[in-house]
Symmetry: C2
Amino acid sequence: DLHQRILKLAGALLNGQVKPGTHVGVIEWDSHRYLEMYFAIAGMGAVMHCVNPGLAAEAVLYTINHAEDEILIFHQDFIPLVEKMRLSLPTVKRFILIKDDLSIPVPSWVNEEYEEWLVSAAPVLDLQDMDENSLATLSYTTGTTGKPKGVFFSQRQITLQTLSDSIALSALGSYGGINKHDIYMPLTPMYHGHAWGMPYVATLWGIKQVFPGKYNYQRILGLIQKEHITFSHCVPVILKMILDRPEINTVDLRDWKVIVGGSTLSESLASEARAKGIKVFGGYGLSETCPVLTIANLKPFMETWEDEKQLSWLTRPGFSLPLVYIKVVNEDGQEVKADLKETGEILVRTPWCTPAYYKENVLSDELWSDGWLHTGDVATVDAYGYIKIVDRLKDVIKSGGEWIVSLELEKLILQCDGVADAAVIGIPHEKWGERPLAIIKARPGYEDNLTHEIIKAHLKKYVEAGLLAAWALPDSCEFVKEIPLTGAGKHNKKLLREKYLFRA
Amino acid sequence: DLHQRILKLAGALLNGQVKPGTHVGVIEWDSHRYLEMYFAIAGMGAVMHCVNPGLAAEAVLYTINHAEDEILIFHQDFIPLVEKMRLSLPTVKRFILIKDDLSIPVPSWVNEEYEEWLVSAAPVLDLQDMDENSLATLSYTTGTTGKPKGVFFSQRQITLQTLSDSIALSALGSYGGINKHDIYMPLTPMYHGHAWGMPYVATLWGIKQVFPGKYNYQRILGLIQKEHITFSHCVPVILKMILDRPEINTVDLRDWKVIVGGSTLSESLASEARAKGIKVFGGYGLSETCPVLTIANLKPFMETWEDEKQLSWLTRPGFSLPLVYIKVVNEDGQEVKADLKETGEILVRTPWCTPAYYKENVLSDELWSDGWLHTGDVATVDAYGYIKIVDRLKDVIKSGGEWIVSLELEKLILQCDGVADAAVIGIPHEKWGERPLAIIKARPGYEDNLTHEIIKAHLKKYVEAGLLAAWALPDSCEFVKEIPLTGAGKHNKKLLREKYLFRA
């Protein structure tokens, strides 16, 4: 059925003037339709732009225009979003609507309704051979600076990542590995780094895949039980939200293996999950790296270790997948000692790193200086070759698996009446990993007037205007007389982070 | 230790004037040294020619000269062979001797003793990056015509085969799959299609590997027990010889998984193995295809089938590895029906097929006509996509995993006094899979004089002269008045094979 629908979708795309190289934007929840788009769009040589609908509306608009998408396929939940921006999308020629609810009215500017369009198309005979270096997907990350940056991957890159990841999960896997008997459900959205590449892995293996639509944790627990899901992946905050559901004790989770990545899996969260029988382990990767680089598998000799010691290794990013070269280098460019003490930046080479940021030469050169991809993550290495991330070089906050750019937030806070200076830092948070804290210096005369409520109200306007993601709103503010500066006259964020470490 | 020895061997090779592209011939039994050569020679951009010492001496000489090897590394067992041919090897500049027995004298023409040479070399700092299409290995097959033909594989090809094979063995594997807990021992020589690629798989996974040296089935059973081997591969005749050892009942073989390929795994042999607890399953590939193409894994729904039915699928070649495209086409070039009845030739496309026969343009064009590799194997396909081999298009005999070229044998028989015509066919044999049968027409006046003994004595001269492999000697002869011919005036071997099917 999947194969037939892929051939039909390719036929429909062909009718819709999609040619090799055409960029097709997709705004969709996790679904069987997204899976067929993964294969049909790239399978006919076109490029799937996985639009991240969690970005601010302004950023969504920016990415579709920057990607120069010619077709936009979107779920009915995003009708208001697309309605608002459609006249500002000069490259988009066709709008395809995915309806879950057949009764909703179809806006007049929509060209096709996805299901009808697919079902009525003549299937292509087969997906065509093409150059392995043909671009397959494009997506945007807000990782390290304000403007979303495009990362892109070829057929070859996705294929190699899928093969390598398959081995790390099966032959080298912990908890008995993952194999043809497993049942898969993503819990990292399919627009986020191809749901960590797992739909490709699951399809290669021919295993059953269950797609949860828009995430609803009560329904997700129901699906795990009903469909007997044995394998998922998510960021820590999603695992936490599932564990906090009142239904948690009614579901048997002892067969559920979960890779946790995106930010550090704390030992306490891992313990909590293991207490429910969930088999958790860490992984590491970036949007720039397709994304998986390491998985926290246990080596055979570790399997006799006591639980607590095992957990310490299972919660690390782990060790390199086949074909991944990682080195952790100090400021002198030397590899750090494998002593879990000396820290350095993680540099990566693997056949599936993005070759550049799309249409961004300067940033691309920075990303790839010296022929290694610079992750911006600071790590230590242990004697067994497992990395452990301790810090980030760059000035960003990662909250619930999503990036918050402190410089962006500071810029907006500065526009509030009475603010003289503002520094935003991430502080550790039990649930979200990190949350932004705004440290604010008032203008003379405003010292007693500024409050967290005023700042929040000010920022909410940007959220409503689609310029700021809702999750970026600081939970709290500190009002100070002076913000400490570095010798170079920049905010001394290192000092601020130390000072406010226990502020949360 | 392996990594250090590889770096040292690369250093020694560098001292020995080996450069990227240099051809290095290796004549060695299965050993840790062969494994380090796999990685050191290719890892410095040189080409490892895996010499098959089982060929007739004349053919060994031909292959080393055809390959233009500059270095020849050989085990002490082959001193007489190399001694005899060394003055006829104009390209070989250095002879490196591998000694197992330190007391044997070193011939004066030997340049280096392997272990000393390796240990005293300065290790290279690291194996260098190189073009992924760099040639890594070269070996010769006697598959389909008399003259050995070179097949060659690049770094890229071996890497892709290793990744794909890893998935077929682990994620998709039967009997619980093979994984990081397994212990590996080859029972297909490392000069034969890289021991079916398994030393690469085992090294990628980091599992323990045990190398049995020259095969001695009593010692091999001892190794399985002592080292707790859990994973091997071999041709049916080797499995049979192991099962026939008197020690068989003293060894617990219940953890031993064995891929059987090279020729058809009969259900009776598979049953016999399973009765000892051995977990056998089929596989399929050619020297031309690096070699693995299919593995007879059970799909999950087959795992509830009763034993006998399972066995029928486990003994087939199986279904395609990831990235392998197989089609079985009839004489009209159409794919056969998946009904296990209609037969056709197996055609293959995969990134790891040999691009050509080395320096053989005409044969290469035949191999690759229409852009598919023509295997010469005739098969049926079942509804689940498993192939089953029923015949061979080409006129060769496969005995104990080795090819016997009937045309070659016929040519030699014709040189015997009194022989007018000779046709050699393969007939089924319980132990060897096939054995050659010579059908001979005598010259007038010789009808009563020719005997099997005379033919055998005649052929033995060629064996002694190194022109014919000992295993190619026919076990028996049929003397006939006329050899039936086809319309085109060739021996009607189809008719002969039918007539002598039960001759064995």
